[in-house]
Symmetry: C2
Subunit: 459 residues, 2 copies
Amino acid sequence: MTVTDTTTTAPARLLGLLARDLPPDRLATDPRTLAAHATDRSGTHPEGLPLAVVHARRTEDVTVTLRHAHALRVPVVPRGAGTGLSGGATAGEGSLVLDLSGMNRVLELSPEDQLAVVEPGVITAELDRAAAAHGLRYAPDPASAALSTIGGNIATNAGGLRCAKYGVTRDSVLGLEAVLADGTVVATGRRTVKGVTGYDLTGLLTGSEGTLAVITSATLRLRPLPAATATLAAYFATFEAAAQASHAIARAGVVPALAELLDGPVLAAVDPALREHGAALLIVQCDGAGAAAEAQAVADVLTPLATSVRTTTDPAEAEALLSARREALPALERLGRPLIEDIAVPRSRLAEAAREIRAISARHRTPVFTIAHAADGNLHPIIVVDPALDRLPDAAWETAGEIFALALRLGGTLTGEHGVGVLKRQWVADELGPAAHALQRRLKQAFDPHGILNPGKAL
Amino acid sequence: MTVTDTTTTAPARLLGLLARDLPPDRLATDPRTLAAHATDRSGTHPEGLPLAVVHARRTEDVTVTLRHAHALRVPVVPRGAGTGLSGGATAGEGSLVLDLSGMNRVLELSPEDQLAVVEPGVITAELDRAAAAHGLRYAPDPASAALSTIGGNIATNAGGLRCAKYGVTRDSVLGLEAVLADGTVVATGRRTVKGVTGYDLTGLLTGSEGTLAVITSATLRLRPLPAATATLAAYFATFEAAAQASHAIARAGVVPALAELLDGPVLAAVDPALREHGAALLIVQCDGAGAAAEAQAVADVLTPLATSVRTTTDPAEAEALLSARREALPALERLGRPLIEDIAVPRSRLAEAAREIRAISARHRTPVFTIAHAADGNLHPIIVVDPALDRLPDAAWETAGEIFALALRLGGTLTGEHGVGVLKRQWVADELGPAAHALQRRLKQAFDPHGILNPGKAL
């Protein structure tokens, strides 16, 4: 059989070894499964179809898969629910998809230590629901929480609506179990909220978009559910006025749990009747024992700047106020295929960023819809393209490119929370600079010397 | 001169090159300066004296120093105020000390973006004071804040009293400028609170104890000063009862700004009169708009468990309640040389850890004084040794070793906030495990291929 081993191609040998060493239900090569696992919600379509999909159910499936792929130098694309918006989970010809969505057990939920240990395929909202039964919550809440997995959230260091007060995903990850490119299992971090032994591998893996290791379990911090919540909705004559108002909240020393900003085009897409209230809507939520007092302070700040301000502590009314935000993306999806950018700028530059985005949009005759997590300067400028088009129109690319350049010019970043994936790679070097970029490549090399983990993504 | 170049020793050549390339006031080789820069507050004394001290005043001094040291393979020990407790800044024979305490300018303080850009030698409390003038604060507050530098705080990922609510140093570092071993300057992170482009080099450098790069400036997050503060002090019949009470606060869903626990021996050292109130003192502070309501909730939890509970919103009275905590270390220093450990355990194991520490102390007939940041499970078991002794008594080492083993057995860590330095190196592999330890060494290699940066520390 030695003759076969040296003449067969690496992909064919890999499939043979995986068929031999994995339990029988793990490996899929049928074209429908391959096609379903070739792309993500970015809408990016790589060339060709992947070789196969491994449906991992336990850590050993991951170690077996990576050990063989490493030896045979076959690229591996780790994948959760495929809800990524930057193409980080796209898998083209010659690559092996490692699907972790079936590793979806909550291994431990400790109300005593306010932490959970979960497999990567657990749906984020489900963990939050399990925590709520103990008076706790998983604070990170990406808008995709009902669909996306913890593993994917960690891979992109996902943000969400509550970041200004509760931090991003990294701030809730205490430790990880991960499998290195060669199949070695490493444990990082710990079960304590503090700890400084060794370099921060937990933070390094968080946000690494599957290019450094494959996460097989995560120890996550849970937090007490807030004692109270108060919600405000304010309309403004212009988006800039709303952005300034959001900045005025920060200047008043209030850290809201969320501050979501919707521009006029988004309001019109959700419901033309909303647009009649103003050209921008700012929704603010304060939580904790001081929620009512903070909401009053926010109302005092907003009232002279807004056209209307409404406050409530009633959960059903709060949900009604937040519904415009929840309906924004579905509404834009009805108009076409939304290309959702996620630049972040220093908070004081939010109004300026919004003004410049409008100018860029006008220059390229490309409508841009903008939602912002206002309290942390994170903007989602959304370009809606015709879904019938095979490729993005040049004007859309140019608009996106100018928005990225704007973010960097204002001292911000290309991506606040979605990750680089494949879509933003061409701008990464501009943000990192050559020295940090080179250093990052050396780190990649230290983790993955053969470059098999999600090649062509992130860096 | 080529003959001289190949026959002179590397240290002598380095001193010649530094004398040539650095401004005249930067290089010191007099024995008094060398002795003053050979050790830190750990009390560890390395063999011999360092070669020289470079008093850096600007980034270029650091790049020049590292470029030559790298080429000549001379070890470099970066240093701030020398307040480290683990020996991370100790510098023995043959090493060059790179003193950053003179790079002490606040380069920018932006109330608009709630951030500061500072050089590494800025004293932590001075930054906090500068921020307070704008209604802001720098949240991390290591007990050494009045003496220690931001650079040293970042090097050890320093903790402090407010971590349970506001996080550790890493949670306030947005970006860094750092010089790599070969003299290359890299910028990491950004001025925004969110951002996921590239790997998290900011987090990786934070806590790396000067072994990966030398930090030359830091962009730090500032936060609004809290609207209100309420302070409680409660005495308990036993330390375990106080630890359980602190855990009951967490279970009640309150996240206090600080929760400091002092055991009976510490109280007796501060003032024998305090010891008459109980065998342990728990000081809790709540802050923010909900401070009074939270303090009431805390009082409700503590009252049935404590022997006495006292609450105040008056700043002077709060200061009086906190003074026992502030006076603890000076009081122990009057008894001898305190060896301050800083294990952390999952919060539910705090009482168990305290009980076990007492048993270890009894077994080795070595008194252990314990202070804890109770809300994050971070304990400071302190062994006081006779300052006249040349070396630590075996019983002290054995006591420390058993305390570290205990921390790991309870699912905790050797060091919650002080760093590994030289003192805890022999236990690092036990905590990290062989695979993560090997990976960390590969990362070190990717940053510092000749191993010149703070060799023999941290890993």
